[in-house]
């Protein structure tokens, strides 16, 4: 299956990227786009972050599912919940009739000792729960807002690491099932997010190869966030343009227009260079999201980005969206 189509068919999308690239924004946009395409979506927040509920105007997320987008004529519905590692561990033990044990673990501080004795156990329980939700049939798509970049590798590597460390027993079985999910390109894809700047692109390329080589996960398209929309008229001199359009400019106006244009052109040139470099270094389709020139993420912004994703999903190909 082509990576671009995978976005519209895989049951689990894991969204990962370095801090500051808009990973949560992209998670929200992917969820809304899928819901608009008729899929019932669950968003999972593994870090208990704050920005997603604000965008949808709902209260902070909890372990219980909350509606982000109602199911209506044009939407199949988006739901969201948190799934922190400690929650996952306690639920795991409770489900196995070990409530008393789980209480003890917290009160004696043994929980930290265990998590250290078995690195990755918290992650594997989170991913195990994701797999359970995928299999529950309650949702068509589960979108996981993964930990930030460096941690994303550790997070996704937890299953293969645990298979070596714990050879038998229920944890081993859990790790095996998670590894099956992660390495099944039909069921699960990792979507890497970046912005078109040097360091974020470097880190994305590194993460991509490490995820493919070390974890064996299948990557979906790369999402490049904050791409400047094209403004072909910026090379024009403001004074000439004003004369041509019969507009009188006040003092300082031409200079402001010229400075703003020069600033934007310089930044756009950097973006273009980085987009090309990304395409050359990583042969994956790119989905490009426009810079909305706002630092507020509300429902209107999420919808605009979701529309941009929907539009491109049929057409994404390596190195370009044109």
């Amino acid at each position: 299956m082509e990576p671009a189509q995978s976005l519209t068919s895989a049951g689990v999308l894991i969204v990962a990227g370095k801090g500051g690239v808009g990973k949560t924004t992209v998670t929200a946009a992917l969820a809304v786009a899928a819901s608009a395409a008729g899929r019932r979506v669950l968003v999972i927040d593994v870090e208990g972050r704050a920005s997603m509920p604000t965008a949808f105007g709902v209260d902070p997320l909890t372990y219980e599912e909350r509606v982000l987008v109602d199911a209506a004529a044009e939407h199949a519905g988006v739901f969201a919940r948190t799934l922190t590692p400690d929650d996952a561990l306690l639920e795991y033990l409770n489900e196995r009739g070990l409530q008393r044990l789980s209480k003890r673990l917290v009160s004696t501080g043994l929980l930290d000792v265990i998590a250290t004795a078995i690195p990755g156990i918290r992650d594997i329980l989170v991913l195990g729960k994701v797999k359970q939700l995928e299999r529950s049939g309650m949702f068509d798509l589960v979108v996981v807002d993964a930990p930030a970049a460096g941690h994303a590798i550790t997070f996704l590597q937890s299953a293969s690491g645990l298979l070596d460390a714990v050879q038998v027993g229920p944890i081993n079985a859990q790790a095996r099932e998670v590894q099956e999910l992660l390495t099944d390109a039909e069921r699960c894809r990792v979507v890497l997010v970046t912005i078109p700047e040097e360091t974020p692109v470097n880190e994305l390329v590194e993460t991509a190869y490490r995820l493919e080589d070390q974890v064996g996960v299948a990557l979906g398209p790369v999402v490049v966030n904050g791409v400047h929309p094209d403004l072909p008229g910026l090379a024009v001199d403001p004074e000439l343009a004003a004369a041509e359009s019969g507009v009188a400019l006040v003092a300082g106006e031409a200079e402001a227009l010229r400075d703003a244009a020069a600033f934007r052109l310089a930044r756009t040139a950097v973006q273009q260079e980085q987009l090309e470099r990304l395409a050359a270094e990583l042969p994956l389709p790119q989905l490009r999201l426009p810079d909305l020139f706002t630092s507020t993420l509300g429902r209107a912004e999420v919808d605009r980005l979701a529309d941009a994703l929907s539009e491109q999903l049929g057409t994404a190909r390596p190195g370009g969206t044109a």
Binding site: S51, S245, D259, F263
Partner: protein, 377 residues
Amino acid sequence: MSPDAERLDAVVGRSRVVVCCGSGGVGKTTTAALVALHAARRGRRSVVVTIDPARRLANALGLTSLSDQASVIDGPWPGEMHALMLDTTATFDGLVRRYAADDRQAEQILGNRFYQNISTSLSGTQEYMASERLYELAIESDYDLVVVDTPPTRNALDFIDAPQRLARFLDHRIYKILINPSKGPIRAVNVAAAAVTRSLAKVVGADVIGDAIEFFRAFDGMEEGFARRAERVDRLLREDTTAFVLVASPKADTVVEAGFFADRLGELGISVRGLVVNRMQPAFEFATDRPELSGTAVRARAGTLAGTSLGDLYTCLADARQLAAAEEEHLAGLADRVAPAPVVRVPIQAAEVNDLVALDHLADLVLGSADGGRSGT
């Protein structure tokens, strides 16, 4: 020089330790590096502890390979600048060697699988070792200024909490609970805990629990040294000559996190001494008495002029103004929360810092040029 940059310069000038904190991706490491560089320009002897610097910055500093030892950064300044990258494992190993009763105890711990997991995967360990390295450099070396970058965690307070939290963790008597519940007075809590540990062994495997027990047994007696050390680090972080500088970007979510961090620091009785906001969008304002040309009103004008040859130019200006206004709106609350700390706004740079000249230029923006303030001191 902006008055805020001047005030931040004064804060750094009176400090012996500067801790740069904030969420990931906001330019924290770069800010830490330029604070150290500026101190060298001021004739001081500075060192910066970086954590996982971006390739470009590492190259700019000449840090091509991971080195836990400070190396000197050559530059045209009267003082000295040094830099190092935090090596969590090496730092932890050093602490174990320092507090072990003898080589045998040290080797036993260093070879234990559970110990190796602590230094690679226990959350908070990187923060702990960053503060440990800070302590060594501030107390046991003769730098005038130690600048430390903090790991990009969700909870930036880990940096302050980690030493005490890890000291408590290392004091865990899991093996006593499991092995010797009957030695001494039999306590119900111990017996119950032993039962817990046994059921756990069934779930996660006995050898895993065995490694942990072996570790705590080998570590026995060293926890006091670690706890005392943690206390001293905590005291250093609260000293008057230690300044916490919050680094943020003007995006809504990082501003929220920065505000949260400022509040939590306040609860601990530590105040933010400076706020550096990187990546600000310039607004390209100009003085005019025509309201349709000021602030974000230019968006409407861009609409009117669409299709003319001024159209794109106006859209571009309107985009810049809209973003700049949104950023200022987010920042207003944060600036109030950290008041009276100076708030330095740094415009977004066209290119990344890739050499010392670029870093030097950025230091001018954040702390003022070295010449600009010297006449006044």
